[in-house]
């Protein structure tokens, strides 16, 4: 079957997207969540087990504590308290830990060790998965069942001072609050004073039950100067003083007869040796947890603190305060806290915790009955019932106590087993789906690679042996083999994998597809290998080797693509991927510069890639006999690469991105500060004018007007939002949402797109007019530009402007004049697209996705347009360059009629090579320290980019379709 290479490439890319989707489904474990979105209630609590007789009471035991103070010090590392220097840093706390009535633990936080997920973990007791973090980017309030909600529902009065993340997560939950924004990382005194200033008055009062303090200063110091800076000690001493103040106030208020207090000192995450956090190194994960209460036994010296999970605090606090444990909590109660209460109460607490965990297990884990912890819990519950029966009969013998102790032990073991089973569920990869997805992607990639000589040939068509392989015997054998492997895997490994849970029809289709691909692959391979076709005397492979001579530029393009793919294996290179692209782009521009010099100083040939600037003006006599137009063109062509280099250097300092150098000041921040509003306004106005000038030249008159009005609308939208100044707007109007202005722009975007589509259709159906068609394409492109201009933040408009400028100049003077072929042009476009992705401030971290774009022109959050707009503005750079590629290649059709086809094929290849390589890398590195913080976000970016490229390739096909139709029409015309 002969297929055009553009159709072939889009087909491969589409199926690759499906393969990657399957891989993603296997890679990201779905968090274990209770299937009910309700919350635990007191009335739902299980009764105390009792063998035989009717259950006697469903009430909770008496709470252990009357009031609790949680002092959360952001980024408090374990060794700041328990380590050797702890005595210097926090003397009072250390004394309490060593001699006071306190329990101390090392609480292990889970990655990502970032404040918001950690707060969620501490309050819900669940471990927020990576997908959670992504999904909840735009819903600030926590809807899951959590401790704060439970406390509020139970009528407890909660006071909160500190990081305003809490206030956003729990709106209307606090009786009194004062949120401090952690925006200014350089400030580490005011943030804490803001918290402490309320403390004296609050501690004097008696009208609260829970007091939560979240101190940010230590974290900020860590970010500024690391964990060994001289600022750490005074800050920790200050924290120690505050703890002392709280403790002494609580002690003085302690009344005879009433329940005791509980003071908790904890950290949300640690601090790495460089002072940052987010990963899963020991220093970032280990946080101290100190529980202080007169209810505990006094200690007789420093013991090595035990190790607990951070989420264990949640059930402990809940039970200690007499609240139901929140539904999705995977923590288990810390037994040391209960040890002073009666045996009956202890058993009851453990029973409640076990019941909650077993419910979660039932909901989240298939065949939970087989789980060891679940069985243990059932046994312990029964033993508990027996014990209760004896207890209620009034038995008080030693035997009963021993029996109770045994039940207690059984419970603790069951809790540990269930908790670890639940946590493991979160960290388990569905290997079968991952491997299946990987196999799909690799088959497709290999087919794509093997088809290269045909796809890039003059005919631009690939001869796929589909039918011959469909009727061949190996195909049926492979089908059978794969199907049996599938059955074998799915029956043996349990049904926890996604690919097994798919319906039989789908699985069979996948199996048949995969076997067909395999057969095609084999026959293509046989065709490429020299042994099969000896008809022409020499093999096509040899032909390939001798026919293609590589220039320096080709070597660079090839080495860059391969090198970039390999660099993705290192976490630093993933974090700093923008550096790779900037570096490659810079080298590319220098290489192009060298090519230009070669072309224009052909007589003497260009020198290397240096020394050009001192080229003698003696060359003037060479071009003297040419027309002056050619001379000026020569100098413009010579000036284009340096100009591009300068543009890229400027854009690079516009948005500082990545991790290592992200803290450096950049122009974007400078422009966005309020005192430079005037500069920003002038700059964006200038950029908008320039965008208009660059885009309008190939549009129809109507589109020109629409574009001008649209760009005016963009400016007024920015003015309405309050980013830029309007010249005649004297009174500082309150910043509105600018909905009207944005919708005004949307109308023009749609108008331009409509007019472009109309031109395209007309050129395709009515007249085979190439000019009309290229105008239509350009109008679609300019509609996209207008939309991006609206979505980009004001300080990013220069990125768009430079993008258009470079495209225009390069197309005019470089690509056309130097006769680069479609493949080279495509690779250059792809590299520019990648670099512009980072120029606009993106990184491989989810946090840089600008979600506010989803609200442009919308009154409230509407999912579909918001996702569309966010994706569009995030990938604006690569999309604009890909669209420009379509325009450029289809305008180049006269020169090379198959350019569009070649371009589409190259784009597909360029995108699928890193994507396929990356999923293998991620699978190999799945136990890497940074798998969640670095590699997983990048995986999401890669898949999203693959999806978008598949869309662009489909667009390529429609362009090509019209080519063949217009060509056939042209042929008809000539025949007549």
């Amino acid at each position: 079957m002969k297929v055009r290479s553009s159709v072939f490439a889009s087909f491969i890319l589409t199926f690759e997207v499906l393969g990657v989707a399957l891989f993603l489904r296997g890679f990201f474990p779905v968090p274990v969540k209770s299937s009910f979105s309700s919350k635990s209630r007191l009335s739902d609590l299980p009764a105390e087990p009792l063998a035989g007789g009717s259950p006697n009471s469903t009430r909770l035991p008496q709470p252990l504590f009357r009031r609790a103070v949680v002092m959360l010090v952001d980024a408090l590392r374990e060794d700041f308290v328990f380590g050797g220097s702890g005595r210097l840093f926090m003397p009072y706390t250390r004394r309490l830990v060593e001699r006071g009535s306190a329990h101390s633990f090392v609480a292990k936080a889970r990655a990502p060790t970032v404040t918001m997920p950690r707060i969620k973990a501490l309050t819900t007791g669940s471990i927020p998965g990576f997908i959670d973090v992504v999904m909840n980017l735009n819903s600030p309030a926590l809807v899951e069942d959590n401790l704060i909600w439970q406390a509020k529902t139970a009528g407890k009065k909660i006071i909160f001072y500190g990081d305003d993340t809490w206030v956003r997560l729990f709106p209307k939950h606090f009786m009194e609050y004062d949120g401090t924004t952690s925006f200014f990382v350089s400030d580490y005194t005011e943030v804490d004073n803001n918290v402490t200033r309320h403390l004296d008055s609050t501690l004097k009062r008696d009208d609260w039950d829970i007091l939560i303090l979240h101190y940010l200063g230590l974290d900020h110091i860590g970010h500024i100067s690391g964990p060994h800076s001289s600022l750490i000690q005074p800050k920790l001493l200050e924290m120690d003083d505050i703890l002392k103040k709280i403790h002494s106030s609580l002690v003085s208020k302690e009344a005879e007869g009433s329940l005791p207090y509980l003071l908790v000192l904890c950290g949300d995450h640690g601090m790495s040796e460089t002072g940052s956090h987010g990963g899963s190194s020991e220093q970032e994960v280990n946080t101290p947890l100190v529980l202080i209460s007169p209810a505990f036994k006094r200690k007789a010296g420093m013991e090595k603190p035990g190790v607990v999970e951070q989420v264990d605090l949640t059930p402990t606090l809940a039970l200690g305060l007499g609240l139901p444990i929140s539904q999705n909590s995977v923590g288990r109660v810390i037994p040391g806290v209960l040890e002073e209460s009666s045996l009956r109460d202890q058993l009851r607490f453990l029973h409640l915790n076990g019941h909650q965990l077993s419910c979660l297990l039932k909901d989240g884990v298939p065949n939970y009955e087989k789980d060891a912890g679940f069985e243990q819990f059932r046994v312990a519950e029964k033993a508990h019932g027996n014990w209760m029966k004896l207890y209620l009969e009034g038995n008080t013998s030693e035997v009963l106590t021993n029996m109770g102790k045994k039940v207690l032990k059984q419970y603790l073991e069951a809790l540990a087993a269930m908790s670890s089973a639940l946590s493991k569920q979160l960290g388990k990869y569905d290997m079968y789906s991952m491997v299946a997805g990987m196999v799909f992607v690799f088959q497709l990639l290999l087919v794509l690679l093997l088809a290269m000589p045909e796809a890039l040939s003059g005919a631009a068509a690939v001869d796929l042996p589909v039918f011959s392989s469909l009727i061949s015997l190996p195909f049926y054998l492979l089908c059978l083999l794969l199907a049996s492997v599938h059955v074998l895997v799915c029956t043996s490994a349990g049904s926890s994998c996604y690919f097994c849970s798919l319906s039989w029809g789908l699985v069979f289709a996948a199996v048949a597809f995969s076997s067909a691909m395999f057969c095609i692959l084999i026959s293509l391979l046989a065709r490429r290998l020299p042994l099969a076709p000896k008809i022409h005397g020499k093999s096509p492979l040899k032909n390939l080797g001798s026919g293609w001579s590589f220039s320096e530029l080709d070597v660079l393009l090839l080495a860059g693509t391969v090198g970039h793919t390999l660099s993705l294996a290192a976490s630093s290179f993933v974090e700093e991927e923008h550096q790779t692209w900037y570096f490659l782009l810079n080298t590319l521009c220098l290489a192009v510069f060298q090519d230009v010099c070669r072309k224009y100083f052909r007589e003497q040939k260009g020198s290397g890639d240096e020394e050009e600037h001192i080229l003698p003006s003696k060359d003037g006599h060479l071009s003297a006999h040419r027309k002056p137009g050619i001379c000026s063109e020569k100098w413009l062509a010579l000036a284009t690469p340096p100009f591009t280099l300068v543009c890229c250097r400027l854009l690079r300092s516009l948005n500082q991105t990545g991790v290592q150098w992200a803290h450096l000041p950049d122009v974007g921040h400078w422009l966005n500060s309020s005192e430079h509003k005037m500069v920003l306004s002038l700059l964006s106005a200038f950029c908008l004018v320039l965008i208009y000038l660059l885009v309008q030249r190939r549009c129809s008159l109507v589109s020109k007007v629409a574009l001008a009005l649209g760009l005016l609308g963009v400016y007024s939208y920015r003015a309405a939002v309050g980013n830029v100044l309007f010249p005649w707007q004297h009174s500082s109007r309150t910043a509105s949402k600018g909905t009207v202005e944005a919708r005004f722009v949307y109308v023009f975007v749609l108008g331009i797109l409509f007019s472009g589509t109309k031109d395209l259709l007309r050129s395709q159906i009515l007249t085979a007019d190439a000019k009309l068609k290229s105008r239509g394409l350009w109008e679609i492109y300019s509609g996209l530009v207008l939309l991006v201009a609206l979505l980009f933040r004001a300080h990013n408009l220069p990125v768009l402007c430079c993008c258009l400028l470079i495209q225009t100049l390069m197309a005019q003077f470089i690509w056309k004049k130097l006769h680069y072929d479609a493949a080279q042009t495509t690779i250059m476009h792809y590299w520019f697209g990648q670099a512009f992705f980072y120029f606009q401030g993106n990184s491989n971290n989810i946090a840089t996705v600008d979600i506010s774009v989803g609200f442009v022109g919308l009154e409230s959050y509407v999912e579909v347009p918001a996702i569309f707009l966010t994706a569009l503005s995030t990938y604006a750079g690569p999309l604009l360059w890909a669209c420009h590629l379509v325009c450029y290649l289809s305008a180049e059709r006269q020169r090379s009629p198959v350019a569009v086809s070649h371009g589409c094929y190259c784009l597909a290849l360029l995108r699928s090579v890193p994507a396929a390589a990356y999923i293998v890398l991620v699978t190999v590195l799945r136990y890497h320290l940074f798998i969640w913080s670095v590699f997983s976000p990048k995986l999401l970016y890669e898949s999203m980019h693959l999806l978008l490229t598949a869309g662009v390739c489909l667009f390529f096909i429609t362009m090509e379709q019209s080519r063949s139709s217009s060509k056939s029409e042209g042929a008809k015309d000539s025949r007549q």
């Binding site: 570096f583 810079n586 040939k605 290397g608 240096e610 020394e611 600037h613 290592q660």
Partner: protein, 219 residues
């Protein structure tokens, strides 16, 4: 065919490589606590100085540079002046390119400039020694099939190796290993140096093994 010239080239390169080695080791005797990345600027200075002095001396002794037509003092002075100008311009050019590659513009400008000086000493200076301050000749040598003597080919190889070495030397900078040699511009100058030494070794070897294929058209 050019056995004599290849031998002369190999010995000249050995002398230059030895001078680089001495320039790296010698400061440790005079300056306490000297190390290549500890006192990086000093290292660059000493190596650049040594390479400059030794190359000029060696090439002058070998008499590689094209014979000058005039022998007047004024002409020689103007040549000298132009050479200095080219060196200065080349430093500025390298500085600009490195800044375009992303080096900070203002802070650590001294480090960037020292790298530019090193690159100039390793590449431009050699061009000046072999070809003289003659841009036409430079353009000829650095275009495809432009070499007209063994020395031209040698120049092409060493310059390419040095530049590629400096280019490759930038790769480890983003890695978060926090090693002293990752500090700007240590890795790049080390890369350039290693590339240069490789070029010094590779050029005579390559010419030796390809002496049958090499044909130079005469002027």
């Amino acid at each position: 065919m050019w056995d004599h010239e290849i031998r002369a080239m190999a010995s000249a390169h050995a002398v230059i490589a030895a001078s680089v080695f001495v320039a790296t080791v010698a400061p440790a005797v005079f300056v306490p606590g000297f190390s290549v990345y500890g006192a990086h600027l000093l290292w660059i200075c000493s190596v650049s100085g040594a390479v400059t002095a030794v190359s000029v001396a060696v090439f002058w002794l070998l008499g590689v540079s094209p014979p000058t037509k005039k022998h007047t003092l004024g002409y020689k002075l103007s040549r000298l002046f132009r050479s200095c100008l080219y060196v200065l311009l080349s430093c500025l050019f390298f500085h600009a390119v490195v800044v375009l590659y992303g080096a900070p513009l203002i802070e650590s400008a001294l480090e960037t400039f020292s790298l530019a000086v090193l690159l100039t000493c390793l590449t431009t200076l050699r061009c000046l020694c072999v070809l003289g301050p003659n841009v036409q000749a430079w353009i000829r040598v650095f275009s495809r099939h432009g070499a007209m003597s063994v020395w031209d080919t040698c120049l092409q190889i060493t310059v390419a190796c040095t530049l590629v070495g400096a280019w490759v030397g930038a790769f480890p900078i983003p890695l978060d290993w926090d090693r002293p040699w990752q500090v700007w511009p240590v890795s790049c100058s080390l890369g350039a140096m290693i590339g240069y030494l490789t070029g010094l070794v590779a050029a005579p070897a390559w010419i030796h093994y390809h002496r049958k294929q090499l044909t130079y058209k005469c002027k």
